[in-house]
Amino acid sequence: MFRWTLRDGTYELEMGREPCNEIGTTVLAELERFLDQVDTENASALIIHSTVRGGFSAGADLRELYNGLMDVPEKEQEPRLRDFIERIHSVMDRIDMLPLTTIGVVHGICFGGGFELALTCDILIAEKNARFAFPELRLGVVPGFGGIPRLRRDVSNAVVRDLLLTGRSINAKKAVACGLASQMVPVGAGLRAARKTAEQANKFDPESRRACKEFMKPLPREELDAEKDLFVRLAMRPVLQAALKKFVESDDPRPYLP
């Protein structure tokens, strides 16, 4: 499902969970497995890409989230959700701070939690069919995997507000124009472009490369903690559970969100 290789100083992390790399406990465990063994002394770069047709990632595994909340007594729902959020933030923070040049290759859907994962990368390469969105408000919550602070770190407030407050999606061209992605490439050409970028990173002095990243990409710690609290507070209301129920029970191919 998730596989990785280390070749010539570059890790390639391949996400291949059908239908579209939905992020739940299984994907989290795979990411933790990767992070636990990653050898940062003998590598310079990490490429994260998806092999599933639908895209990079459709976001949180909403079915698992819904079932996970429904399976426990009401008083246990909040602690369970908070544990999950703490765990996913820990994973996102670890990827964000890796002393490697991290390159995300995005094709197709890059929504919600998938977008949040992409935002942990240092460099994003968007294939022409890539589409980015934070649909969380349409479910009655806000992004909860660190997406708001990381989006604010990367792009202008006008785009941040538009994406968050309307739940709309943007294409690859717009993503490059607003500074979210640095390159737009043809469909299917993202991995090649990422490998070339990684080759460039591999040429540099490791200490300078690491110091440069640490200096220019600090973790927005206070905002990340505040986002966790906000997400859990909003998610504990009936609004989210009603939206998740509608999602789980729908078999309509059309977008179901308001």
Partner: protein, 77 residues
């Protein structure tokens, strides 16, 4: 029919390997092309690039037919 309908028809026919004659203004987009929500997002990107427009999702939310879609594109050109 709207100015963009013919271009929309050609793009969809080529992209989804369907006969252009089955694409009618009143035809349902999902049913005619047999696409899912992932492919719909992809189509949206292609249309935005082809027509050099941005169409927010909420403007497309209630659009079901090719005719309505081409009208939405025309409003943004």
């Amino acid at each position: 029919m709207s100015a963009s309908f013919d271009r929309l028809t050609q793009l969809c026919a080529k992209r989804y390997s369907v006969d252009a004659s089955i694409i009618k203004p009143e035809g349902d987009i999902f049913e005619t092309l047999g696409i899912d929500s992932f492919q719909a997002a992809e189509l949206m990107s292609e249309l935005e690039m082809e027509f050099d427009v941005e169409i927010p999702d909420y403007e497309l939310q209630d659009i079901k037919t090719f005719g309505a879609l081409s009208s939405a594109i025309d409003e943004r050109i």
